[in-house]
């Protein structure tokens, strides 16, 4: 490069459009959310102010109830629990699928076809997809009737639908794809000769997996994990529908407050959620520095 000054017109022109979109639709709204979270409010109005009222109310009673958990903490424990379970299952399933695609499927065309097939869950709307679980998992659904006819169970299983199980199932079904693609991408870049070199050095299949493939697939694993964790932490629709509106979630708190037109507490909860998500992602970045790995 002959020019030393990076701030030339073409550079600005290239960065400009996305910086504009990012600023207008992300940075500014986020700044508003943070600002509003410190406002005061009454039943019918927002009062510009600088008060911690929304935060204080959110955590009301939390200290008194210790070691018991107050509502907000219980909700976050439940959301983080879902998050962990979904992350674990999507990682296990996604890693396996990506491994199969990268190392067992020989032709690139076939790899692409199979990767596209794993996008099928996205071809229908979220609502329809979730409703279609009902005839399958319901009290008189396909699974229960099938198991009863086979004589495996006598009474229908109640925990199949409107339960933690159903929530995790729906999430895993939906988001495994977000793990598959980045992990597959990382794995596809692994030189096949490295695996032969490991075999030549006497490594067993598992040793190769642990010492060669997983370390080299780490960037993909982290990116996929960030996708899954941020989506699950903020979701309230899936938890609501699949949990039969009986399971609280961090997103649901925000939605309820918004429904009641209590914008400052909604904003405060959004800020708290954002902080928790950032905390998780920072922790993961500690394990793998993706900026370095990319």
């Amino acid at each position: 490069m002959k020019t030393k000054d990076p701030f030339t017109l073409p550079a600005w022109a290239q960065v400009g459009p996305f910086a504009f979109v990012f600023g207008l639709f992300f940075i500014i709204p986020l700044a508003f959310v943070v600002m509003v979270s410190f406002w005061d409010y009454t039943e019918y109005s927002l009062v510009p102010d600088f008060t911690l009222r929304s935060y204080v109310e959110t955590f009301e009673g939390c200290y008194d109830q210790l070691p018991g958990l107050c509502t907000i903490l219980k909700t976050y424990v439940s959301t983080v629990k879902f998050c962990f379970l979904v992350w674990l299952f999507t990682l296990l399933i996604g890693f396996t699928i990506a491994y199969f695609l990268a190392f067992h499927v020989q032709s690139v065309t076939m790899q692409m076809t199979l990767a596209l097939i794993s996008t099928i869950p996205f071809w229908t709307s979220n609502v329809i997809r979730m409703i279609s679980w009902i005839p399958l998992l319901g009290r008189n659904g396909l699974v229960n009737q099938g198991l009863i006819k086979l004589g495996v169970i006598k009474e229908p299983l109640e925990w199949l639908l409107y339960s933690d199980f159903a929530v995790v199932l729906a999430f895993v079904h939906l988001f495994t794809f977000f793990m598959v693609i980045p992990i597959f991408n990382s794995m596809a870049r692994i030189d096949k000769r490295l695996i032969e070199a490991a075999y030549d050095a006497g490594a067993t299949g598992w040793q190769t997996l642990w010492t060669v493939i997983i370390p080299l697939a780490k960037p993909g694993i982290v990116i996929g994990s960030i996708f899954v964790i941020t989506i699950v932490m903020g979701d309230f629709v899936t938890v609501g529908v699949m949990g039969g509106q009986q399971i609280a979630s961090a997103g649901k708190i925000i939605e309820t407050r918004l429904g009641a037109l209590q914008f400052p507490p909604a904003a405060a909860n959004a800020v708290i959620l954002l902080a928790v998500v950032l905390l998780i992602i920072t922790a993961m970045n500690r394990v793998v520095d993706i900026r370095k790995e990319l």
């Binding site: 030189d191 000769r193 490295l194 032969e196 070199a197 490991a198 075999y199 030549d200 050095a201 006497g202 490594a203 067993t204 040793q207 010492t211 060669v212 370390p215 080299l216």
Partner: protein, 328 residues
Amino acid sequence: MKGSALELVSVTKRYGITTAVDRIDLKVPAGTYCCLLGPSGCGKTSTLRMIAGHEAVSEGDIIIGAANVTDLPPARRGTAMMFQSYALFPHLNCIDNVAFSLRMRGVAKDVRRAKAMELLKLVAMDPYAERLPAQLSGGQQQRVALARALITEPQILLLDEPLSALDPFLRIKMRAELKAMQKQLGITFVHVTHGQDEAMALADLVVVMNQGLIEQAGSPREVFNRPRTAFVARFIGGHNVIETSAGPIAVRADRIRLSRSEGGHLRARVRDVEYQGTYVQVGLESPAARELTAQVGEAAFDAAPLNPGDEVAVSWGEADIHRLSPAA
């Protein structure tokens, strides 16, 4: 470390209906530097990979020392492989790369790192022990790959086109290092290459392969001075293959004599003239032998310069005629 002899007994490799390696027999004495030489697709890489255990043998046996290793996994054959472009683990530094196979065997960390350090010293890479492969030059990577292959104290080291990733200058330097290392360790090296100059420079035993068969196996001098077939004569370079009434013959390019006079064994027309320093390479076209090459000493050429288009008489001495077997 001590080398072992290697023996291939009618080893065959088939992929579906194509035969990559067709019942080859080969004996490589212990401590030999053996080069498998041939054009791409001749079966040399398949042969190496079968010796290494990375490719199943369709038929035949591979014997290392006194043991039949045909069905053993790579790590139990007493071989180690140095891969094309080295296949160093990009996430591990040099010392962990070298120590890898000991780690797989469950050797304690300080023991295996000490051993790896010894090998890095052997290849003069100990100052770079903590570097990642991406931070090394091609030649340095090759040394680390060599150290990694040697840590299991193999009896036979298998090298898959080890010099092809290097630029020409470094290639000559590293090939000298490989040869010196083989002499120092005294183990058997089997080195796959498509470069005849590489094979000539390194090998005690050159094995020329073509279409899944061994065309000729012998010392570089034998192969160069007495090529068995037209293929070997052409592939090894420096030869002209000429059809005569008594069958095909090979004549070394530096033994071809050109003159403007009448007579000679053949008439030919000069196609191109290339100055090569100590000699001048003259490309010739002749109806009798498609193309011919003559290497004329610089002084001799200057005494009777030739230009493209000139008609010349081509001749050679009776002693320089080498008869080729008519097959192939």
